[in-house]
């Protein structure tokens, strides 16, 4: 329910959704008009309509990685398709860099996709009759870039995703993980500002998935794209996201940072997801630390503010005094005690974390 704005104050959002609805069915539009913005999924279903997205509003800022998390049928992929306009939203407004894409004609839309958007698909959706290199160069070729230029760019992408030497392979000759690397390279070849990923790692084995997630984090640390990432895997969301939107039956139940979602689940549904989450693997020191008190006697040790608890837990637990938390510049920003760590790890679920998450 909570549709908070992004915490970092920045200028215009790259993507803005304003009361977006997507309802499938013949008389969806007239039903929605009558409903006056209050959509009851059960009522609509009785009338033969299926609610895909129900009143979604949020902003995504430049360089931010927003993950939409939900189980199958929650409308997460539908929301992504509304924003990329692979499907038309039934009502609402969607702005990409301030422009309303629902008002765009086909030509403008193609222009937008050729220059600003890239998308990765769950089942890779590679063209079976083209080689790795041709697949990657495909968006450039349809755009009309010269063959020489597009091959050069595609080769760079091949190197970027670590497929060097396999340029002439066909998709069927590659493993699932490799195929998705091609999909990623294809989506990045036009150097888009906005990157959509629709369950990109769901069709992969757990080990490969972990590897691809690392690869993805590496790429993002280099590229700094604005990303909308869809997944049904809560652990994946926690691992990767700047912010997470949890969807159920087309409604965004909660949209917040991973730490806040784990510490303060907004609804019962969200709480169920967070219950089993090992907090030390998710929470960063800064989200559980206490305020820095210069008068207190501190240990000589310091820990960085932005690491997950797990990595420094041993140090803190072995220290008899509180440990200083420092920011990137080495300035003390907080303190953490062994007792606090024990409380986070083994305390009851009603743990109230401090609210000073960044």
């Amino acid at each position: 329910m909570s549709t908070q704005n992004a915490t970092s104050p920045s200028d215009e959002p790259v993507i803005r959704c304003d009361s977006v609805y997507k309802i499938f069915g013949d008389n969806a539009e007239s039903m929605l008009k009558k409903a006056n913005g209050v959509v009851d999924a059960a009522k609509f279903q009785a009338a033969g309509c299926i609610v895909g997205v129900n009143n979604a509003s949020f902003d995504i800022h430049a360089g931010e990685l927003l993950i939409i998390m939900g189980l199958s049928g929650s409308g997460k992929s539908t929301l992504l398709r509304c924003i990329s306009r692979l499907t038309d939203a039934t009502a609402g407004k969607i702005f990409i860099e301030g422009e309303d894409i629902l008002k765009m004609n086909n030509k403008q839309l193609i222009e937008l996709r050729r220059n600003k958007m890239g998308m990765v698909f769950q089942n890779f959706a590679l063209l079976p009759h083209k080689t790795v290199l041709e697949n990657i160069a495909f968006p450039l070729q349809v755009k009309g870039v010269s063959t020489q230029e597009s091959v050069k760019k595609a080769k760079e992408m091949v190197d970027l995703v670590g497929l060097t030497g396999r340029e002439d392979y066909f998709p069927r000759q590659l493993s699932g993980g490799q195929q998705q690397r091609v999909g990623i390279a294809r989506s990045l070849v036009i150097e888009p500002d906005i990157w959509f990923l629709d369950e990109p790692f769901s069709a992969l084995d757990p080990l490969i998935r972990k590897e691809m997630q690392d690869e993805f984090l590496r790429l993002q640390s280099v590229l700094h794209k604005t990303i909308l990432f869809v997944t049904h895997d809560f652990d994946e969301a926690l691992r990767l996201a700047d912010r997470i939107a949890i969807m159920k039956d087309g409604i965004i139940e909660q949209l917040d940072t991973p730490a806040n979602i784990v510490l303060n689940p907004a609804t019962e549904y969200v709480r169920k997801f967070t219950e089993e989450v090992p907090r030390e693997k998710v929470l960063k020191i800064e989200s559980v630390m206490d305020a820095f008190d210069p008068l207190e006697s501190m240990s000589d040790l310091t820990v960085p503010h932005n690491v997950v608890i797990e990595t420094v837990a041993e140090v803190i637990l072995n220290s008899s005094k509180p440990v200083t938390v420092v920011d990137d510049a080495g300035q003390a920003v907080g303190a953490i005690t062994a007792a606090k760590i024990v409380h986070v790890l083994f305390g009851s679920h009603s743990t109230k974390g401090s609210e000073n998450a960044s």
């Binding site: 222009e111 890239g118 998308m119 063209l127 009759h129 968006p139 349809v142 066909f170």
Partner: protein, 686 residues
């Protein structure tokens, strides 16, 4: 009691049969009795069609056309001008290909005149030596699928040449080479259009259903009226018949892709055209090429029938041989047709399954090795043909072409073999023949003809109602009503009798033999190969052996239908049984079923929806064969259609008769398909 009746379908069927029997018993057979036979209220319809087509062709919208013969402008009706242009265009292509293979002057005449062509004999197309074509086809076979296919192609081409059938075979091939690409092109466009627009799909669907079930003969008549007689007319009729499967498979292939492929193309920034040509069609390549394969098979199935409206080639020879009861000759030609069919089938399938496998580092020779080998072969073959002039100084140069019927022949031996069979088994064959006709066929026929129209309607609409409710009952009723209102109800009953007897036997054979063969992997493979091979035989071929054994009788027709129609029954049974999920089999095993129990309680119920679709195909196959059976003398709808081919005003009759046949097929299709779909849903298949 009523509740029980509502739930138990078997009780409903019993009641239906009782009513059917009572109606049969009590309705008085009299022409005036409307419950016995409906009056032919649609009798005017064929005449109306004749008049409309006549008007359309010869009067509607006259246009000024320049006539070079009388050097003046003349008033000619638009439609006939239009069809003449199409005819000329297609005929030119056929002649052109034909003359590349066989030589001739018609191509050059098109651009000049007969006088000029006679005066300048050097301009005549020389024609390729048969060795070039045979060798080229063999190389192509090797390039597509390696040594096996190359051997098959080489053997087939050599057989055709050595047996003196080269000329008609090339005539047939030239006609297929024009008809097939045209069908593929039209089918591809319609299929894509149907994929893009739901409306087009909704319009095309019933038309496609109809087109595939209307007998081949019926196409011939309107084509003849619009386009005249000749190779082009045969090609056009073939195109009409061969296009529907192409549309179907294109649509199927595109639909199967799933949304992600199209979405990935759109997100890559494709325009609609780029999406279609760069993404969708290449990705659906395999299904589309299987469509091409189907088109080629349909073209060959039409070879014999197209000869009825003037297509040259193997078909007309086969027809003549059959009419003369020259079984030896007919077999020889039949083998040629079958060989061409198998070769083209295997080649197009190999093409469909071939994955383009190129790595950019190939040398020039490796890249072009097949072209180079062909070039070498071309030179060698020309040299051989030249040398041949000296080896065979008199008569024919066999290294250039083996003239028609001047090759080897085993017709005499085949004929004497047939005669020997007749002499040896005459008594047995005769007894079987007479028994079948007197004790089975005639009584069944009498029973069908003795059925009051109200009883037929009650039975079929009743089955429709029990199976699929009011909608199906009304559809079936409407289809039957159309037949009942023409003057050919009795003939339709005869068609139905021939079909149902054969379908019953085919179904039993298909299900039992199919089940037995599905027991182990080797026999499964064997039976599927059998089906693949026999399915490529043009239906006409089946008439040759049965005529040999049973002469011109209903027995011959029925047996031909049974052999032909049991192919889909067999195939679908085997495929249905194989598709039963492994886990279910394991669950059965762990519950301790024995072989028979497994078959009865797991395999058969699970695969029955699929088998029902096979029976549906069996009906379609049987109907098409019943009609072709007219060639050896039946007295059903087919015979009338055949008759209207030689009737000046046969269009209306032929069309309506064709639609009658289609109505029978569609009524049964409606019931079986509804039932199969319901079962599928109930079993959670799909």
């Amino acid at each position: 009691m009523i509740e029980l009746f509502k739930q138990k379908k078997s009780l409903q069927f019993i009641l239906l049969l009782v009513i059917f029997y009572l109606l049969n018993h009590f309705i008085v057979p009299a022409e005036s009795n409307i419950l016995w036979r409906l009056p032919p209220l649609l009798k005017w319809f064929p005449l109306y069609i004749n008049d409309s087509i006549g008007y359309l062709m010869f009067e509607w919208w006259p246009v000024e056309v320049y006539d070079p013969d009388i050097e003046e402008f003349e008033q000619k009706p638009l439609v006939s001008q239009f069809t003449r242009i199409i005819s000329g265009f297609i005929l030119f292509q056929i002649e052109f290909i034909r003359e590349i293979m066989l030589g001739g002057a018609k191509t050059i005449v098109t651009f000049s005149s007969w006088d000029w062509a006679t005066a300048n004999p050097w301009a005549r197309m020389p024609g390729l030596p048969w060795t070039v074509i045979a060798g080229g086809a063999t190389i192509l076979g090797y390039a597509l699928a390696g040594r096996g296919l190359a051997l098959l192609v080489g053997f087939s081409m050599t057989y055709i040449s050595v047996f003196g059938q080269w000329e008609p075979a090339m005539q047939t091939l030239s006609f297929v080479l024009v008809a097939a690409p045209v069908s593929v092109f039209i089918g591809l466009i319609l299929g894509i259009w149907a994929f893009r627009s739901k409306t087009v799909e909704a319009v095309l669907n019933p038309l496609l259903n109809m087109a595939q079930i209307i007998p081949h003969f019926s196409y011939l008549i309107p084509v003849m009226v619009f386009f005249g007689i000749g190779d082009h007319a045969g090609a056009i009729a073939t195109v009409i018949f061969a296009t529907p499967p192409m549309v179907r498979l294109t649509l199927l292939g595109l639909k199967k892709l799933g949304p992600e492929v199209a979405e990935s193309g759109m997100m890559s920034g494709c325009t609609n055209w780029q999406l279609l040509t760069n993404v969708l069609v290449p990705t659906a390549r395999r299904d589309i090429l299987i469509g091409v394969n189907q088109v080629i098979m349909q073209c060959l199935a039409m070879v014999v029938l197209a000869s009825l409206i003037g297509a040259k080639g193997l078909g007309i020879d086969l027809l003549i041989a059959l009419n003369r009861l020259d079984i030896g000759k007919a077999t020889e030609i039949g083998i040629c047709i079958v060989l061409i069919a198998i070769v083209l089938d295997r080649m197009s399938l190999a093409w469909a399954n071939k994955q383009t496998d190129y790595f950019s580092s190939l040398s020039f020779i490796e890249k072009h090795k097949y072209s180079l080998v062909f070039a070498a072969l071309f030179m060698i073959a020309l040299g051989l043909a030249y040398v041949g002039q000296f080896i065979f100084p008199e008569g024919f140069n066999y290294l250039y072409i083996v003239p028609h019927n001047k090759g080897m022949s085993i017709a005499i031996y085949l004929q004497s073999g047939v005669d020997w069979i007749w002499d040896t088994y005459f008594f047995a064959l005769k007894v079987f023949n007479e028994w079948l006709i007197l004790s089975v066929l005639l009584p069944v026929k009498a029973a069908y003809l003795g059925m009051p129209v109200i009883a037929t309607f009650t039975l079929f609409m009743g089955i429709g109602f029990i199976v699929g409710g009011l909608r199906v009952a009304l559809t079936v009723g409407a289809l039957l009503l159309f037949i009942a209102l023409t003057q050919w109800w009795d003939r339709a009953l005869i068609t139905a009798y021939l079909m149902s007897v054969s379908v019953l036997v085919s179904g039993i054979i298909g299900i039992t033999v199919g089940t037995l063969c599905a027991q182990n992997a080797r026999s499964t493979r064997f039976i599927l190969t059998y089906c693949d091979t026999f399915q490529t035989f043009p239906s006409f071929i089946y008439l040759i052996p049965v005529m040999m054994l049973f002469g011109i009788t209903d027995t011959a027709v029925v047996i031909a239908i049974i052999v032909y129609a049991s192919i889909p029954a067999l195939r679908y049974t085997v495929e249905g049984l194989l598709s039963v999920p492994e886990t279910l089999q394991d669950a059965g095993t762990m519950s301790g079923v024995n072989r028979v129990q497994r078959w009865l309680t797991i395999e058969l119920p699970m695969s029955f929806p699929h088998i029902a679709l096979g029976l549906n195909q069996t009906v379609v196959f049987a109907l098409s064969m019943v009609i072709i059976g007219a060639m050896i003398g039946t007295d059903d709808l087919g015979q009338l259609i055949l008759g209207s081919l030689s009737d000046r005003n046969g269009v209306g009759n032929g069309l309506i008769l064709g639609i009658c046949v289609a109505c029978i097929g569609l009524a049964i299709d409606q019931i079986l398909r509804t039932w199969a779909n319901q079962r599928k849903q109930a079993l959670g298949l799909n």
